[in-house]
């Protein structure tokens, strides 16, 4: 099963490109001209998201480098202990929805410190793979079409992150 998924992932991109281009040319599409026309849009779109990205990345960077997370870890640690959640995982849980790069850094550190096959290592691995960078995605996706009012989508995204986080703890402590 794992081998199949791995092969699927390896061949996905070449397969998609091959299929799209072959299918389109068989249907008489002028593939080169069409590709160039579509690719033109990429430039504008990337520029359009810059203000949203700057706003989001600035807030995350300030929040992170000021040491807010280590403060939370110190003061909320005992609360997490009560729930049988290792406090070491707290920085990852907080950073995961905010910054993909920072979360990956924390995960790598946890894996290297505690070992990939330890409880914490497996939990960090599962959590890292389980949720996405909600703040970043909202900023980029809404930014690309100039939407500033997110309505309830941030709430839903963060709520789903909490659920995935709890599901990770549950399944890792049950399986391993």
């Amino acid at each position: 099963m794992e081998a199949i998924i791995y092969e699927l992932s390896r061949w996905a991109i070449p397969g998609i490109i091959f299929f799209i281009l072959l299918y389109a040319s068989l249907r008489g599409v002028k593939v080169y001209e069409c590709f160039v026309k579509g690719a033109e849009e990429g430039f504008g779109l990337a520029v359009k998201i810059i203000p949203f990205l700057i706003a989001m990345m600035m807030a995350v960077s300030i929040f992170r480098h000021a040491g807010v997370i280590s403060l939370l870890e110190k003061h909320c640690g005992c609360f997490f202990n009560l729930l049988h959640i290792p406090p070491d995982i707290l920085p990852l849980a907080i950073m995961r929805p905010l910054s993909g790069g920072a979360a990956l850094g924390i995960t790598t550190e946890l894996i290297n410190t505690h070992g990939p096959d330890s409880y914490l290592g497996r939990l960090a691995s599962t959590m890292q793979g389980s949720t996405d960078t909600t703040f970043f995605i909202l900023a980029v996706y809404f930014g690309s079409v100039g939407i500033r009012k997110y309505r309830y989508s941030l709430g839903v995204g963060l709520w789903a992150d909490v659920i995935s986080f709890l599901a990770s703890i549950y399944i890792v402590s049950r399986v391993f």
Partner: protein
């Protein structure tokens, strides 16, 4: 909500750095973040253009419409506000599949394409539509079959079984995905 969270993150950071007597940390991280944001978008430009080019070819060939039609029964449930066979549905499916396989840099261009299509039929251009909220709820909690990055890290750290977290990740993402869609459905009704 986003205004409040954004404000709190910045204010809390500055106050804490002030208490610690290290205000220069804030200056440096704010400036660096602004530069990193521009760098990211420049890097995205290449990937975006590549995938948007391919998407255009697929669209012209009628592939996107065909995809949307095949998935109609499924998407009718998730996106009741979208007209049948809307081109956004094809892009949404491509985005979902790319995320499923852990292909992050292909997922983003498909997703942004979907947002463009959704924005075309959005009545209030300033505000997220129902379909957009559902799409982003799906996207931020996407089911993951292959957490490629994390497997790489585990392999590098000398794990005896780097892929053993595939099952647990699939479980956690399925739960999260379901929760996101249910919550989105409830919120959609509450906000009408």
């Amino acid at each position: 909500m986003i205004n409040l969270i954004w404000l709190i993150m910045i204010i809390a950071g500055i106050v804490l750095a002030g208490i610690r007597g290290q205000p220069e940390v804030i200056t440096e991280s704010a400036f660096q973040a602004a530069q990193a944001a521009v760098k990211y978008s420049i890097e995205l430009m290449g990937m975006m253009s590549l995938w948007l080019g391919l998407m255009k070819v697929a669209e012209e060939a009628g592939l996107i419409k065909t995809l949307a039609r095949i998935l109609r029964p499924f998407t009718k449930l998730l996106f009741p506000s979208l007209p049948p066979n809307h081109p956004a549905l094809g892009s949404i499916l491509m985005n979902f599949s790319a995320n499923l396989l852990g292909l992050g840099n292909a997922a983003t261009p498909f997703g942004l394409k979907a947002m463009q299509e959704l924005q075309k039929i959005n009545k209030n251009k300033d505000e997220a539509s129902e379909a957009m909220c559902t799409f982003l709820a799906m996207n931020t909690s996407n089911i993951t079959l292959l957490p490629a990055t994390i497997i790489g890290i585990r392999l590098a750290a000398g794990s005896a079984n780097p892929t053993e977290v595939i099952g647990t990740t699939l479980f956690a993402t399925t739960i999260g995905f379901t929760a996101a869609l249910i919550t989105d459905g409830i919120m959609r009704r509450l906000h009408r």
